[in-house]
Amino acid sequence: VEAAAISTGERSFLERSPLARLPDRALRYGLTALAALILALIVYFFIRLVGQARPAFAKEGVVSFVFGNDWNVSAEHYGALPLLVGTLITSALALLIGVPVAVAAAVYATELCPLRLRAPLTLLVELLAAVPSVVYGLWGIFFLAPKLQGAEQWVADRLSFIPFIGGGLVTIPNYFITGLVLAIMILPIVSAISREVMSTVPADHKEAALGLGATRWEMIRVAVLPYCRSGIVGGAMLGLGRAIGETIAVTILIGDAPKLGEHLFAQGYSLAAVIANEFGEAQGVHRSALFAAGLVLFVLTLLVNAIARLLVVRAARSKGSGTGVQAAGGMSSVAGAAVGA
């Protein structure tokens, strides 16, 4: 009788009433809609940004907008090459200075330092991330730049035989000082990701190297660094993304001169800085040109970050273990969050 009731009845006694199932459905569809909303939002933003940038692209042409070497607001010429070059030079400098230091700090913290020092050391490097970018700008322009001007001039004079680096007159705001401050700003994230990746190196590998008679340094060179290479490169790329998008510190430090600087210690401009600096007063095509600069910046960071994620995730995945994937894929985004912008 019971079996019949179950098969012929409207619903099994284990089944919930349609009314009781309602909150479940609502939650499920509600949350799915929320997730879909994020996707829609990004696509919508991108389309609107392209729409706003169109007048500038129409006036200058896409190629001559991006690679035209003439940013002259009063003459209504908008060629973003000086901005693009400023962004690329300062970011490259940041990588050149910041990554070796960050990796050294990570190696020291994971392999060489006394266990007791490891946590405080990690904390100190990550504290750099708690400093807002406007404070870096303030500190850079009023402390670091004036203090280093003499040294920069000395280097520029000694290296005057190298085109682009030496020879010129050093100004207080310049490409080099911007790159240097950016290097400090990307230090925590590059170091945090390098550390995460280094902590996934199996102890077996390290012990095998030591057991074969390797010195500490040889162990680091043959067991740790090769294992972490793509993770470190990925971390560096994430740092590069940060440096490219950094706005306020760069605006304060780069000098905001809308032309190509003649040498490393001259003033320049960057894509992000031009938006922050000129947007308030911009009208018409000028404003559209700034949106276009934002679009170029957006696409640039998108490319760099896509490559970075690919490298970090692949580094973690090729090492097999699930914890590795989480360490480099998931946790590093937490670490990345912790070491904020």
Partner: protein, 303 residues
């Protein structure tokens, strides 16, 4: 370390000699370790310098009136008449509070969806990819987005809540990713036992999963708040155009980072000093948030 075994006291010392480290390798090891240590110390120098300068310059600017007056004073006469940073502090708190009120529920909602429903479907992967894209977007581009949609789009002008929305976009990926990592750590045995007892899915999420993950999620949220509080660029053309204290998020609103940015570019020494004082205030606020986040993370039973 392993090489120190070749002590002369042992009888085998003579033939162990050939296992000893050659001077060249030893030198190389010392040199490399020294370089790494030097790199680490170099990494710590900027922090020391920044903290030192912030304290030296910032504490000098601090006074009671610094925190209780608005920066509306006349800057031409210099001195103490330039005013403090009350409106900037309150503005930052208001803008960031509203940004958190938007970003936290949405972010945790998306994270719950990713962990409980989306899992590894193609749609969930797409959402994760787009969240990663959001992480990499420069903050000034968020400012542009919000400007296009809420200032150009509505034909109105700047407002505090528009700045909040820009900041909430910035916080979203941080909240989502950190909450997702924590939610994944909730043991599935907890979920399964609740389901086996007959609890519907939504009860499992609200009564089991979220409370278990709460401390860890708070950590992520506080870190996101700390990140948003220091952002200048997205506020420049969404919220900031005033000096007076305002409690109306529909109107113009001052904030600490924007106040600092404006003061940095001033030629007046007193105004620059106010920037140092404001910078110290901002850094202290952000450090406190970071500290609380770390303390909660340490207490969390997960992770």
């Amino acid at each position: 370390m392993s090489t120190q075994g070749t002590s002369a006291a042992q009888p085998e010392a003579a033939h162990l000699e050939r296992f000893a480290l050659s001077p060249a390798r030893r030198r190389k090891d010392r040199l490399a370790r020294g370089t790494i240590l030097a790199g680490t110390l170099i990494a710590l120098i900027p922090l020391a310098l920044i903290v030192y300068y912030l304290l030296r310059k910032g504490l000098g600017a601090w006074s009671v009136s610094f925190f209780t007056t608005d920066p509306t004073g006349n800057t031409f006469f210099g001195g103490s008449s330039i005013g403090g940073i009350k409106s900037a502090i309150l503005g930052t708190i208001e803008i960031v509070a509203l940004a958190s009120a938007i970003a936290v529920p949405v972010g945790i909602g998306v994270a719950v969806w990713l962990v409980e429903y989306g899992k590894s479907s193609w749609f969930a992967h797409t959402v994760r990819f787009f969240v990663d894209v959001l992480t990499g977007v420069p903050s000034i581009v968020f400012g542009l987005f919000v400007y296009i949609v809420l200032v150009v789009g509505t034909g109105s002008t700047y407002a505090g809540y528009k700045g909040s929305i820009a900041l909430s976009l910035l916080m979203l990926p941080v909240v989502i990713r950190s909450a997702e990592v924590i939610l994944l750590l909730v043991p599935s045995a907890l979920r399964e036992s609740a389901l086996a007892l007959g609890a519907p899915r939504w009860r499992v999420i609200f009564s089991i999963v979220l409370p278990t993950a709460l401390p860890g999620m708070i950590t992520g949220v506080l870190l996101a708040v700390a990140r948003a509080a220091g952002e200048t660029a997205p506020l420049l053309f969404t919220a900031a155009a005033t000096l007076k204290t305002s409690f109306n998020l529909g109107g113009f609103m001052n904030s600490l980072p924007v106040q600092i940015y404006k003061d940095v570019t001033s030629p007046t020494t007193a105004v620059v000093n106010r920037a140092w004082g404001a910078a110290l205030t901002l850094v202290v606020m952000i450090l406190l948030l970071n500290l609380i986040a770390r303390l909660i993370a340490r207490r969390s039973r997960l992770a």
